[in-house]
Symmetry: C2
Subunit: 387 residues, 2 copies
C-alpha cells in the first residue's frame, strides 16, 4: 500500500442558473433578490424569467443590475433577462442551464419541475411553491390572550394584502368561549380594514376565484367578506369550519393556499380533533402555535411543527421573513420541491454548488481556497479538525 493520497474537497458552481421571478416581491424576489444574488454569490451566471405581473419594473431592475455589473467589470453574459411563458419553458429545457430557482404557484412549479426532470440531462429544480401555513391557538393560549392573538392574526394574514408565501391560511382555534373570543377579535380587526390593492389584476382575479372555491365547500360559514370588490381591489375573507369537516376528504379545497387576504378558521373540540385536522394539513413553509406557560399542548405541537414545516414559530406570526444565517424558507413537499434547501438566508447559496475533490493535485493547479497557504483566509477542515 502506498502513502495515503492528498484529498481536498470544496464546492464549485453548478453552472448557469435560471431564476423565475415571483409575482409578490418585485424587488426582493424577482429580477434582483434572493435567488439571483445567491446564484451570483455561488459563481453562477443567471438568466431571469421576468414575472408577467411587473415587466417594466423587471426591465428597470435588470438595467440597474447591468450597470452595476459593468462598474465592476463583470464578465459578459453574467446576467440575462427573458420575458414570456415560452421563453421560460425554453430556459428550463436549455442544455446550457444547470439549475432552476422558482417562486410561484404549485401548478406552475410542478409543471416546470417535471420538465426539468424530463430533460436528457435532468437538473436540480428548487421550487418554492404554495403553502397554507397552519397556525394553532391552544386552549391555554386562548384562555390567556384571546384579544391580542385574534388581532395579531388579523394583521399577519392581511400584511401586504395577504400576498406573502408565509401568510397564515389555516387557523386552528378551540371551541368554547375563549376560542370564540379569539375569533371575535380577529373578525373585528378584519372589519376595520379598507379594501386592499393587489399587486396585479391577475392576482386579484385568482384570489376571487380561490375565495369562491373555498366558500363553496359544504360546511363552511363566511365570517367576514361577502363583498369581494373588483379590479385590483379585494376585501379580506374569513371562513370557519369544524375540525371534523376540515379533516374529511370533501373539504380538500380548504387545505390549499388561497393567495391573498383569506384564512380558514378550523374550530376543534378535543386534542384528538386538533391532531386529526393537523394531520391532513399539507406540509408547509411555516407552522405557528400560540401556547400558555406550561401548556400541555406546547411540546407535541413543537414536535409536529418540526415534521410539518421548515420553520416552527412559538407565540408569533409567520409573515416576517428575515435574510439571516438562521432563516429557513422551505419545507417538505408540497411547500417546496427540494426539502433540504432554502430560498432565503445564507444557506440559499448551497443550492447552486456541488462538491469536487482534488486528489494529489499540484499546488499550482489547486483552487486558491484549497491551497496550504489559504490566501482567501476561508474556514477549512484539515484532517477532520476545523481551522
Amino acid at each position: 500500500m502506498g502513502p495515503l493520497p492528498d484529498l481536498r474537497r470544496m464546492r464549485v458552481p453548478l453552472g448557469p442558473v435560471a431564476v423565475f421571478g415571483s409575482s409578490n416581491f418585485p424587488f426582493a424576489f424577482s429580477v434582483p433578490g434572493g435567488d439571483t444574488s445567491s446564484a451570483l454569490a455561488a459563481g453562477c451566471p443567471v438568466v431571469i424569467k421576468a414575472h408577467p405581473a411587473h415587466p417594466a419594473t423587471s426591465e428597470r431592475c435588470f438595467d440597474a443590475m447591468l450597470r452595476g455589473a459593468r462598474v465592476v467589470a463583470a464578465p459578459e453574459g453574467l446576467l440575462g433577462l427573458v420575458f414570456g411563458f415560452e421563453a421560460g419553458v425554453a430556459l428550463v429545457d436549455d442544455p446550457a442551464i444547470s439549475a432552476v430557482g422558482f417562486t410561484g404557484s404549485v401548478a406552475a412549479g410542478r409543471s416546470l419541475w417535471s420538465r426539468a426532470n424530463a430533460r436528457e440531462v435532468p437538473i436540480p429544480f428548487f421550487g418554492e411553491l404554495g403553502s397554507a401555513n397552519p397556525l394553532v391557538v391552544t386552549a391555554g393560549a386562548a384562555a390567556e390572550r384571546s384579544a391580542e392573538i385574534g388581532a395579531g392574526i388579523g394583521s399577519s394574514m392581511t400584511l401586504g394584502g395577504g400576498q406573502f408565501c408565509t401568510k397564515p391560511g389555516l387557523l386552528f382555534v378551540p371551541d368554547g368561549e375563549h376560542g370564540d373570543a379569539v375569533v371575535a377579535a380577529l373578525v373585528a380587526s378584519l372589519r376595520e380594514l379598507s379594501p386592499m390593492t393587489m399587486l396585479a389584476a391577475g392576482i386579484a382575479s385568482h384570489f376571487r376565484d380561490g375565495a369562491h372555491a373555498v366558500t363553496a365547500v359544504s360546511g363552511t360559514s363566511l365570517l367576514v367578506g361577502a363583498d369581494l370588490e373588483e379590479g385590483t381591489s379585494v376585501t379580506p375573507q374569513l371562513l370557519e369550519v369544524a375540525a371534523p369537516i376540515f379533516a374529511g376528504a370533501a373539504a380538500r379545497a380548504l387545505r390549499e393556499e388561497c393567495f391573498g387576504p383569506l384564512a380558514v378558521v378550523v374550530r376543534y373540540g378535543t386534542g384528538d380533533e386538533l391532531a386529526q385536522a393537523l394531520d391532513v394539513a399539507d406540509p408547509a413553509l411555516t407552522f405557528s402555535f400560540f401556547s400558555a406557560a406550561e401548556d400541555p399542548d406546547a411540546s407535541w405541537l413543537a414536535e409536529l411543527g418540526q415534521r410539518k414545516a421548515g420553520r416552527v414559530i412559538a407565540n408569533g406570526y409567520p409573515t416576517g421573513v428575515g435574510v439571516s444565517w438562521s432563516m429557513q424558507h422551505g419545507g417538505p413537499w408540497p411547500a417546496t420541491t427540494s426539502p433540504s434547501s432554502t430560498s432565503v438566508g445564507a444557506a440559499g447559496i448551497e443550492r447552486w454548488l456541488r462538491p469536487v475533490t482534488y486528489q494529489n493535485m499540484p499546488a499550482e493547479l489547486l483552487p486558491e481556497a484549497l491551497r496550504d497557504e489559504n490566501p482567501l483566509g476561508i474556514p477549512q477542515r484539515v484532517d477532520g479538525s476545523r481551522h
Copy 2:
C-alpha cells in the same frame, strides 16, 4: 417594528430511508455500509433492499446489525431488510419512506429515480449510477513514464476484477511512439493476469454482453482478450479506437460503462482531437490525468476534470476510494442523480437531513443542539460568527 425574533436553525432527519445494496461491495456498500451508516447517523430508520447477488451474505450481515441494535437498545423498527425486485419497487412507492439511497446500474437507477419523482409526495433519490471514469495521458507524461503508467492502468482497471464504480474505462493516450509504449506496457500487464472471478454469475454474463457490444463498434480493434471465459470467470478486455471515431455518434456504445475488467484506449493526435473526444465523454465520478512537470496540458485538463467529475486526480488512479472528510463520490448526471451529494465520506450524511428553523421557541422546547448552554458541545454559528 418589534424586536428581532430569536431564530435558530439546525438539520433534522428526513425520515425512514430505503437503501438499495450494491452488487460489488457486499460489505462496504450493501446491507451495512456507507448509505446505511450515514442514514442511521442522521437519525433515520433504514430499510434495505438486499442485492440478489448475495442474499445469504445480506441476511447474515443484517442479523449482525440487529444484534448490535439490541445491545444498544435501539428502537424497534430501526432496521428492516427486504428481498426481491417487487419489494424494492414497493419500498420506493411506500408513503412512509422519505428518501432513497441507490448504488447500481444506470437503467435500474433511472427507473427507480423516475418512480420516486412520480409519487404523490416525491422524495429525494440519491443514485450512484454507472461511470466510465476518463483517464488522460498527456504527450508529456507518455514521453516521461510510459512503462510505469501503462502498468499502473492495467492494475487499476482490473482491481477487484474491474468491479469498482471508479474503474478507469476510457483511456486517452497520444498517438506516436510514446503513446505506443504506454499501450504496450498496459497490454503486457493485462496478458500476465489469470482469468478473473466475478462476484456473481450475473455480473460475469452482463460483462460478456457489454464486451461483445463494444467490440462490435465499427473502427475498434481488440488488443487483449479474445477469450471471454465462461461461468463466473472472465478475462480482461482492452480495445483501441481513434479519437475522431470515438467522438462520432456511431461509437456511442463505447462511452458507457462496461462493468468489469474492460477499458477502451482512445488514441489522439492533437490537443483538439483530445478535447473533442473528452467533450463527448459523459460526466463521471472521477477524471484522472497524467502529466509531466510544467506540462502545457495540465491546466486545462484540471479545469475540464472539475466540470466533468466529482473527483479530479492528478498522476494517480481513481480506483481507491477512502472514507474521509474530503472524499467526494458523486458527479454530474449521469454519474449520479444528485450532483450535490456524495455516497462516500463524512458529507454522505447531508443527504438524509433537512433544515428547520425554530423561532422564539421556549428553551425547554428547543432541541439540545440549539440551546444556549450547548450541552452537546457542537459547533455553532451565533450571529454569523463560528463558535
